[in-house]
Symmetry: C2
Amino acid sequence: MGSGRLAVIGGGVIGLSCAWRAAADGWTVTVVDPAPRSGASWVAGGMLAPVTEAWPGEEDLLALGVESVARWPAFAAAAGEAAGAPVGLRSDGTIVAATGSGDRAELDALAAYLARLDRPVESLSGRALRRLEPAIGPDVRAGLSVPDDLAVDNRMLLAALQVAGEKAGVEFATRSATGVLTQAGRASGVRCAEGPDVAADVVLVCAGAHSGIVHPALDGLVRPVKGEILRLVRRPGALPAPRRTVRALVDGRPVYAVPRDGDGLVVGATQAEQGFDTTVTVGGVRDLLRDVERVLPGVAEYALLEAAAGLRPGSPDNLPLIGRLGDGLLVATGHHRNGILLTPITVDAVLALLRGEPVPEPVRAADPARFTHGKENPGARVDQR
Amino acid sequence: MGSGRLAVIGGGVIGLSCAWRAAADGWTVTVVDPAPRSGASWVAGGMLAPVTEAWPGEEDLLALGVESVARWPAFAAAAGEAAGAPVGLRSDGTIVAATGSGDRAELDALAAYLARLDRPVESLSGRALRRLEPAIGPDVRAGLSVPDDLAVDNRMLLAALQVAGEKAGVEFATRSATGVLTQAGRASGVRCAEGPDVAADVVLVCAGAHSGIVHPALDGLVRPVKGEILRLVRRPGALPAPRRTVRALVDGRPVYAVPRDGDGLVVGATQAEQGFDTTVTVGGVRDLLRDVERVLPGVAEYALLEAAAGLRPGSPDNLPLIGRLGDGLLVATGHHRNGILLTPITVDAVLALLRGEPVPEPVRAADPARFTHGKENPGARVDQR
């Protein structure tokens, strides 16, 4: 069991999860966030898809993701039980679909890469895909079935995590954090823009794309990567949505559609680096609509409920930053496209750090020391730009 | 000057305008609407474009529109002065653009039709159009310039009309009207769903697509025609919006873009008859984005602020219903695509009716008696379906 006061900067999925679990572990926890449950965690699609996100050269990230997705069912059950409300985990698996010949070549390369890593996936013809998911249209010529890549309703999850935290005693300071307070070289609390500062024995930075604003050591390490996403819902008479998550390459552009209970479908996501801009653009929405219709033609009759943009926290090597940043100062950010996927293993690592125990093995590659090591003052500015 | 109590059912652009002008004319006015300034008037694009809306066989509607657009500058000035706030009238004119050869043939037919009516318009090459409006893209091959077709910011207008009404003493009963009360064969007030009924000496029905719910004589005459519309705004670095309203035919589909002060652009509008459904659909938004980009390619970089759907009040012959429906009962509805355009002349007609004077000549074709004439009880159900 831990003890003392923990201040968590950021009320997204990582911050809320760490707050809940730390409070259950004996800490007195305050989450500092002007708008908990908003930001990238709110906008996200909720894919839990390490295998279909795999990319040659990112084996550390794949290992981290595979380990985290394995922890997801237990994490979802624990959060759901603590909150007394479901988190919306879906276990129907994921399809990867390809349209043009270039897209099929990329799909074959992914399948070969996964086979070399002993993660074989099932290659399917367009016809076989449509037998699995009749919503898939005739432009899809080939695909893969990846049953272990899951999905979660990120908004149900956020609601459950906040309730679980509140039941465990987590307090919320709904104001903006502007920095980490230090005393005699040790983190001593959170400086706030509106209202009083928050005193703490340990500070945990989970501020996502805004982490660099909170602490200078993260400025230039964590950068905002904008993503636009649409929320659809089936209307009466329209074709049913797929049961599985459908990811696709359409003329080289990636698009995904994540089903939700209640006939919902979340369609994402564009990727752009334009600073802290969260504008939804005409071109982004046009691409998402065009591409998802190529793969799932029936969505033309769906209702478009929402178009939104969020800022993923990118890191220089696409691995997150999970570990110790200074005395009394922990960080769990930089999760880029994988924040919700990596939540269970990130939380387990943060709990281990709070207890003074070693982190799970795959998290060691995410130690922020890979960027800050050798600096005299790890709290000083690290400019990677 | 009038006298007595006037109840106006409907707080859209027609209802608010009539309420303001009647109150200024001496009437004690109550507007009955659960949500004034919402509905089709709020969703609208704000085109004031009788000429570019002209259609062979609809000469009465063209005459009504031309007469109304001529009254628009004075109406806008009066409303703006009464409210102490501008209504956002734009006098830059309208361009009609065509892309494919079928679209050009339709454009030529429109130009020939307008010439036969002695409403000549200027035919322009694609290059000449781009000299006028550099935002127009290379897919546009030909067009027309119609300087007298104007536009207004319908949301500024609604705000100004409500303020003008309030300053003139208009009261608002923010509840749903469910019918017209009668006493000894004469309208005596408005039956309300929530809260007390509204007593009146004269009742004016301006309930748009919902008019048939309010009075049985309008049920089956006025039907909802759904339209989806997008609101964009230019982002820094994106190409400027056109100064003029741009209407276009893209592979046979009509699309329009109405500029707003402050770099806004309103893009509309789909057309569908599906009852009282105001869902925004994937297919509708996809069509609007694709088609407006064909005409104004720079909008790809614009922000998409809003997608909404409204219900135009359609009538059997596309002419509105403006006139006497019974003793103490007036109607001004069924304006379909032209409610904002036809506001000034509709208001002038309603004021004339309230004063017992003849309506302006072009409004005579809009007398509801063309549908209800010969019925023993003009308040009884008229089934035109």
